[in-house]
Symmetry: C2
Subunit: 234 residues, 2 copies
């Protein structure tokens, strides 16, 4: 496997973080091509016309691979090194399910919680939903292990890496605690273990930069949340 | 593999359809347990507390597997028979990407298009989005083949099976054509080939039932589309 690997990414993205951690854990050298998401390049449009998002993985001259979780599985199946997904099909199914769960059930509600917070509602349904979903995720943590992947970082750890640094920044800017020692002791321990890992640390953006970016865009997110469909009944 | 396989499903669901087609293509005997989604059972809450949706696959006494695409991959990796996913990791990545693309970029916009139609707007952004996304999908169809999977039905065919019967019903009830011979000749041919397949036909619900159900719920969907977040700026 000596074909060049290039990753189109952007600074501070938890989705790009996934691809970088997977590449580094597998020991795959790669070139990171930074994309300005406010002024997207022809390179991005060419390789990801379907949704114009990062990360995008270019491996040799094959068609580009998009979507962070798809990229992580591709890296796992293509390159040597310790496997990221569990060895048995049932374990793989559970990891894939919980990865999607966090994307669909926590991330979306986090933005809802932020919007409510800005509107002056400390306690909102989206915030409670995030907390409840984190509590469900907490029940999945394997007893006596350091990571969801067992003794080492695996696919599910990488997939939910966004609830580490990014969730903390989110809580700070929104002013609402979501992950708590009281309700999520295993997840809180996991966040610490994940973030001090040597490989992970090299792929984490600077916290202050994330706080500043999210703070400066708070009002923009509220604007985006305006309804996109007409209402024919109240 | 003699452990019993049970599938918790519901009549008319394109997601349950995926799991049934995969099980039948692999020749796996299974018991279908029908769920009333308007009055969900303890069985469903027990096995899918994370999102209380069908399908749910029970295989022996292992923890239940949820999410239709996760189930299809589990079936492919666990049971004998012709593989559903491509043999090479790049082909698998592409299939997984386009399966997610259809779920995220076509299905969601379809509901948006329906709501606009009910509100009296024949041409809406969501409808145009669905058409554009189907055009992108059209470009992925392998030349000279009958199915996305090649000569036989594979993972991506199963994943986008919902744009066959269900899309047609949707177009009829919403009164807006989305898939057209003019713009999507390969997809239109694929829809016909997919729907006449012996295995697929056994897993398709009755068209009249789908039309009646969707028609009776039109207004309900509009109600559900009301904004769930406060608006602090206009």
């Amino acid at each position: 496997m000596s074909e060049p690997v290039k990753l189109i990414g952007s600074l501070g993205s938890p989705y790009v973080h996934r691809a970088e951690v997977a590449l580094r854990l597998k020991g795959v050298p790669y070139e990171l091509i930074l994309e300005d998401l406010d002024d997207k390049s022809e390179l991005l449009f060419t390789h990801n016309p379907a949704n114009e998002k990062v990360p995008v993985l270019l491996h040799g001259d094959r068609p580009a691979i998009c979507e962070s979780l798809v990229i992580v599985e591709y890296i796992d199946e293509t390159f040597d090194g310790a496997p990221l997904l569990p060895a048995d099909s049932h374990g793989r199914a559970m990891a894939r399910f919980w990865a999607r769960f966090v994307d669909e059930k926590c991330s979306m509600s986090m933005w809802g919680a932020l919007i409510w917070m800005i509107a002056g509602h400390a306690h909102s349904e989206p915030a409670e939903t995030v907390k409840d979903n984190l509590t469900l995720l907490e029940t999945q943590f394997p007893e006596g292990k350091r990571f969801f992947g067992g003794d080492t970082i695996g696919y599910l750890d990488i997939a939910i890496g966004g609830i580490t640094l990014w969730l903390g920044v989110f809580e700070e800017v929104a002013g609402v605690p979501l992950l708590t020692e009281e309700k999520h002791p295993a997840l809180c321990r996991w966040v610490r273990d994940y973030m001090v890992d040597e490989t992970v640390r090299r792929c984490l953006p600077e916290r202050g930069h994330l706080v500043a970016t999210l703070t400066s865009r708070k009002e923009l997110y509220v604007g985006l949340a305006k309804p996109a469909v007409p209402h024919t009944q109240e």
